[in-house]
């Protein structure tokens, strides 16, 4: 994978995770803190969480090709780092949650995490579908060339 496609994958992943974080924040806020008003700077929390999540994604990168088991382990570490970052930053900001809210937040973060990878997988599936269509044309064309 070249640098350009690596960068575009990070940008796509960042955009998906930021969108999902905004949705999670909105749902959690409406459910547990409906009377709270947020200042303008609250708009920056989602992209900051998204950017930090991408930064922690470095644990999943490797020069060599990882086995499926290694990929799963590294993704679990990635998720744990994100969970730690979300709770840590909230704690530093003075947000202390009840056990129930904490559990729901932790599950919500995991859902966002899975959603990001699922959307990336869907994008790969779309690109695989396009590739498969072109592959048939490529094979036909090359066969014709050989016949000539």
């Amino acid at each position: 994978m070249n640098q350009k496609s690596k960068l575009s994958e990070i940008i796509v992943s960042f955009c998906i995770s930021t969108t999902c974080i905004i949705l999670l924040q909105g749902i959690m806020g409406m459910l547990f803190f409906p009377d709270e008003l947020l200042p303008y700077d609250a708009f920056f929390t989602a992209p900051v969480f998204g950017a930090l999540s991408e930064l922690f994604g470095l644990v999943t990168w490797s020069k060599r090709e990882l086995s499926v088991k290694e990929v799963i382990v590294r993704r679990l570490i990635h998720l744990l780092l994100i969970e730690g970052m979300v709770f840590g930053l909230n704690y530093l900001a003075g947000n202390i949650f009840t056990p129930m809210v904490s559990v729901i937040l932790a599950v919500g973060v995991a859902v966002v995490f899975v959603t990001v990878y699922f959307v990336l997988w869907l994008l790969d599936r779309k690109s695989a579908k396009l590739f498969n269509q072109q592959l048939k044309q490529f094979q036909e064309m090359e066969k014709k060339k050989e016949m000539w």
Binding site: M1, V68, S127, A128, F131, Q134, F138
Partner: protein, 150 residues
Amino acid sequence: MRVSIRKIANKQDEQVLIECVEETAEIKEIEAYIRSKGTEISGIGTERIMKQFHLTDVYYFEALDEKVFAYTLEDVYEIKMRLYEVEEMYAKYHFVRCSKSVVMNLMLLDSISPALNGRFFAHMKNGEKLMISRQYAQQIKQIVMGGNLG
């Protein structure tokens, strides 16, 4: 250097024999050229007999324990080539590297599907499934799709 051609009866017995005092760079170049010209390869099959087979019948080449194997529908052959040589010599016959240890035949590729971590599975026409590494996926897409990258 003297060059002689001797006609024989059997196609299967065709060969190029280089007689030299020393394997110089020039000799190696001639050897590489001859190897790259033919679309028939010889290899040791599972019955430990040297056989000739068509390059177009090879689904993929795989490097295992310092040896390179060619996989056809009927048999697996051990060939006397390095994987990088296979990759270089047979690129024009639509063979492309798909992982560190595998060079596959694009003409016998049926489809691809997404796997984990930006990798893809290559479903060959014989039903076998190979892994396309992240680093080679882009190159394969480039060959097949040209400027139409998804």
